[in-house]
């Protein structure tokens, strides 16, 4: 986290976490839609019979994709909660540091030396540890977002394949095409949310 010792940094970090969390909510909502749509698509493929077997298989895969995505989002959300805890500690530490600094400026003689010793030992241990923890959490978040991007890429491929399969759906081709276009549209929304999420995640490192 850039300049995590400052309270400005902590506030910025919290706002960043909220932006990430709002994107997570959008993805979860889209994943839920895909799950429902895929369920309907499976019934539709069953009605279409032999000519929509491939479409049925892909719909099943899209349902699995939606479940995996929801699970991945839950893990991401837990990771952001972990970040909130760490930021809370950072804010408390930064407040103590500010007060100690003021005490150092105002203190004289023995008191000044004691405060200086205390501030030095805090700088060397607590703050460094918190910074490391924050950096580790951020690295974990970045990896998880990258994993999610791969998963969404798979969803995108499935949606495109469903569109191709829809063309072989005989009398049901029009309905299947409509469903596969809806899949594609929702996955496009997920990709956009994920792009924003990635942007928010990297904001901190650029700040």
């Amino acid at each position: 986290m850039a300049n995590s010792h400052s309270s400005e940094g902590a506030g910025r970090e919290l706002r960043r976490i909220v932006r990430i969390n709002e994107e997570i909510k959008s993805v979860v909502s889209a994943a839920f839609k895909i799950n429902l749509m895929a369920m309907n698509a499976i019934f539709l493929a069953k009605r279409a019979g032999q000519s929509a077997l491939g479409f049925g298989v892909l719909s099943n895969e899209l349902r699995r994709f939606a479940t995996d995505l929801q699970r991945q989002m839950d893990t991401l959300r837990e990771a952001t909660y972990g970040s909130v805890s760490t930021v809370t500690v950072l804010v408390k530490q930064s407040r103590i540091s500010r007060l100690l600094e003021r005490a150092r400026i105002e203190a004289q003689g023995q008191a000044k030396t004691l405060i200086q010793q205390l501030a030095r030992s805090r700088d060397e241990s607590t703050l460094a540890r918190n910074d490391e923890q924050m950096a580790a959490l951020n690295r974990r978040l970045t990896h998880m977002i990258a994993d999610t991007a791969q998963l969404v890429e798979l969803g995108s491929v499935l949606a495109r394949s469903a569109k191709i399969e829809a063309a072989y759906g005989g009398g049901f081709s029009g309905s299947l095409m409509q469903v596969s276009s809806d899949f594609e549209k929702i996955i496009g929304e997920i990709q956009r949310s994920l792009e924003s999420l990635t942007k928010h995640q990297s904001e901190d490192f650029l700040a």
């Binding site: 919290l14 909220v18 809370t88």
Partner: protein, 246 residues
């Protein structure tokens, strides 16, 4: 872990309860936080201590965008009520904190500056949240000498701070009071010891008896609803308070 549960909903006008956190450390008293939302605006009631900020912040974020929280209501000055203020101000320095004028010079020791606080006069005031006009109801000496509750006339919900609080065993973690007689045993010792003034108690009982209340939401323990609200007010009015031991 705290969970935000909707206890009242009419379109965008909602009350969320962030109550009964069973995963908190044992050495901290359990607290309930409430969030009132209306037309894109939101007020957090008794946001809690700094130790539970991560749990409250995360729980709020699951059901609501915390960037829309523009106001904080502090029933009184206790650390379990408002010591998380520094965190909320880090997140949004523009948040306004409504609290008794009596604590205006004390609570800034936690955080904030002259612009942060909106002083509530002794006789209370209206607080606008979105299009909803909420009322700060005087509850002085129950237990704090500068103490307010918050009433929502549309939702018929009264946030009652420490009044109605119960220190419940971990196993009794329901959101609402289900068995009043059983529940109130866990509230008795607390009210006898913490509520210091019989006169203040009687004043409060008379004041809230004039309000239409469907839910009475304390800062600790379960929420009273329906007939249990009246039962609680009657029970409290008869209770001998301001005593060290019963």
């Amino acid at each position: 872990m705290k969970i935000a549960r909707v206890i009242y909903e009419d379109g965008d006008h909602k009350w969320f309860a962030l109550a009964r956190d069973t995963s908190r450390p044992d050495f901290l008293i359990d607290t309930n936080e409430y969030l009132v939302t209306s037309d894109g605006d939101a007020m957090l009631l008794d946001p809690g201590g700094s130790e539970i900020f991560p749990a409250v912040f995360s729980a709020v974020s699951t059901g609501f965008d915390p960037r829309r929280i523009h106001k904080i209501f502090a029933s009184h000055q206790d650390p379990d009520v408002i010591s998380s203020l520094p965190m909320w101000l880090e997140f949004n320095p523009g948040i306004k904190c409504y609290l008794s004028w009596l604590w205006q010079g004390f609570v800034p020791h936690f955080a904030g500056n002259a612009d942060t606080f909106v002083a509530i006069p002794d006789n209370g005031m209206e607080i606008l949240v979105g299009s909803r006009r909420l009322q700060a109801i005087p509850a002085h000496y129950l237990h704090s000498s500068g103490n307010f509750h918050l009433y929502d006339p549309k939702a018929k919900v009264l946030f009652s701070g420490d009044v109605g609080a119960a220190l419940l065993p971990a196993a009794e973690d329901g959101l609402f009071v289900e068995d009043f007689d059983r529940h109130i045993r866990h509230a008795e010792g607390f009210h006898r010891r913490w509520m210091g003034s019989d006169k203040a108690k009687r004043d409060w009982c008379a004041r809230v008896s004039a309000l239409e209340i469907d839910m009475l939401c304390p800062q600790h323990g379960a929420i009273y609803r329906g007939a249990d609200v009246r039962r609680f007010i009657d029970w409290f009015s008869r209770l001998d308070v301001g005593v060290l031991k019963s």
